[in-house]
């Protein structure tokens, strides 16, 4: 399992691995927002938590279609299926690798981009906390979507269509926590709900992903 994690991390970091693509996308989306809504500081401050959450979510989505599709194309998935490694563990590890290479950098970059959007000072801490709690759920749910579309040629668009509705609860609670943090009100309810969703998806989704992968590869 550790071997798989190390391999995925190494692949992501090498040229052509797509590491940094999500980050760049996050930066571009954040830069484009003031162009579309206007440079007014008060307006930007009020929408900053939501925009940063949405940007992070879309950046996560961007790298999902290579999460399993590449391994499917070169036959690695077939071989992993015949290896003495439970498929549930393998998909969990792949989700973890996705989070480490996509989710975690987004969490770390969010405060920097918060400056661009005039995020209120009180909001930085809660933005990072909510993203750190929420992005693992995005990776795990995304892995399920990637498993559903693994055998489909040009399944990237379909993957987005399937995964985005599943992201709704995570986005609602995550962005709500960040917004309340920025407004200086109590964040505990949305934050606890977000943590609940993340823990539940980490516990349950790998079984669904593995089941779907087995069916899809038959």
């Amino acid at each position: 399992m550790i071997a798989l994690l190390i391999r995925d991390l190494r692949l992501a970091l090498r040229a052509g691995g797509g590491f940094g693509l999500g980050l760049a996308f996050f930066l571009i989306v954040t830069t484009l927002v003031p162009f579309s809504v206007g440079p007014e500081p008060a307006l930007l401050a009020s929408i900053a938590p939501g925009v940063l959450w949405l940007g992070a979510l879309l950046a996560c989505l961007l790298s999902l279609d290579r999460l399993l599709a590449l391994d499917f194309e070169d036959g690695t998935l077939d071989l992993l299926l015949t290896a003495p490694l439970p498929l549930e563990a393998a998909v969990s590890v792949k989700a973890l690798a996705h989070w480490l290479t996509t989710g975690l950098p987004l969490v770390l970059a969010a405060p920097v981009l918060g400056v661009l959007l005039n995020l209120p000072v009180a909001g930085y801490g809660w933005l990072v906390v909510s993203l750190a709690l929420g992005t693992p759920a995005l990776s795990v749910i995304g892995t399920f979507g990637a498993a559903l579309t693994v055998g489909i040629k040009r399944g990237g668009l379909l993957l987005s269509l399937l995964v985005l509705p599943l992201y709704v609860p995570t986005l609602i609670f995550g962005a709500e926590a960040a917004r309340r943090g920025a407004a200086g009100t109590d964040v505990s309810t949305p934050l606890l709900m977000l943590a609940g969703i993340t823990l539940a998806t980490i516990a349950c989704m790998p079984f669904a992903s593995a089941a779907v992968l087995r069916m899809g590869l038959r």
Binding site: F144, L148, T149, G151, I152, G155, L158, L161, L162, L164, P165, L166, V168, P169, I172, F173, E176, T189, P190, M193, I197, M205, A208, A211, V212, M215, G216, R218
Partner: protein, 269 residues
């Protein structure tokens, strides 16, 4: 020509007391065989279509012309006879897909999987009707075509779930794999749909009026004059949904049958 494992009528036999002969009780799974299903469906469908048309017509005509205007909402309230039944069937269609998906995953009955496939576009259209009639109703009432009210938002999310489900069916070539994957998507999607419902409620308490007929409390929030045509209309939409699903399932079965026969034929050559 029944398949020994999947389609066979599973007859439950019970020994009659002291006689030694058997009373055969046919199980519902008999209709899991596509051929038997088609036979039954073609017998039931004419009645179903007639009843559905009758109920919808009576419900709508009675509702539109036979009930007084609401003292607050005026005649706009009458869209309720379209809006509420459509919304009801939009949710029930997903429930039906959930149940038939489970039956497919557990018992591998093809009719069940195909019924889920057949129900999805019907559910999608019902959701669309509910959304559009809701917008038309909302404009004079709330002064806006669209509000991010929890119920409206939930229906919009349901609409997206239907789209994804249908798109996944279309994208996978092997029909059994498609049935497997869409079934799992339906299960997972159901959990997330319920979760979204509560998340949305938390996110924004809404403008929407309360349930018209709260089943849990047994009471109702609409007056009798509106209630009877509404119930008839709801029954009509239910029957219409059933008829449409039976019809579409029949089409799907015939399509699979054509594919199966052609594949065997090609192998023979």
């Amino acid at each position: 020509m029944s398949d020994p494992r999947q389609g066979r009528p599973r007859a439950l036999t019970i020994e009659a007391a002291g006689r030694g002969d058997y009373i055969r009780i046919m199980s519902i799974w008999k209709y899991a065989n596509p051929v038997k299903f088609l036979a039954l469906s073609s017998r039931v469908q004419p009645v179903l279509w007639a009843l559905a048309a009758g109920c919808v017509a009576v419900g709508l005509i009675w509702g539109f012309f036979g009930t007084p205007d609401d003292f607050r909402q005026g005649s706009t309230v009458k869209i309720i006879y379209l809006h509420v039944p459509a919304a009801l069937m939009a949710i029930n269609a997903w429930f039906m897909m959930l149940i038939t998906s489970l039956i497919w995953l557990v018992r591998r009955h093809h009719v069940s999987a195909l019924a889920a496939k057949a129900a999805a576009p019907v559910g999608l259209v019902m959701t669309l009707i509910a959304l559009v009639t809701g917008a038309i109703w909302g404009q004079p009432m709330w002064g806006t075509w669209w509000a991010w009210d929890p119920r409206l938002t939930s229906f919009l999310i349901l609409f997206l779930f239907y789209l994804g489900y249908i798109a996944l069916w279309e994208a996978i070539e092997d029909p059994d794999t498609a049935a497997d994957l869409t079934s799992i998507l339906c299960l997972v999607g159901s959990v997330f749909a319920v979760l979204s419902r509560y998340a949305v409620q938390f996110w924004n308490q809404g403008l929407h009026q309360g349930t018209s007929i709260p089943v849990a409390t047994g009471g109702r929030t609409v007056a009798d004059v509106f209630f009877y045509p509404l119930v008839i209309s709801m029954i009509g939409f239910g029957l219409l949904f059933l008829a449409l699903v039976l019809y579409r399932t029949g089409t799907e079965i015939r399509l699979r049958r054509t594919q199966a026969l052609r594949a065997r034929l090609e192998r023979e050559l």
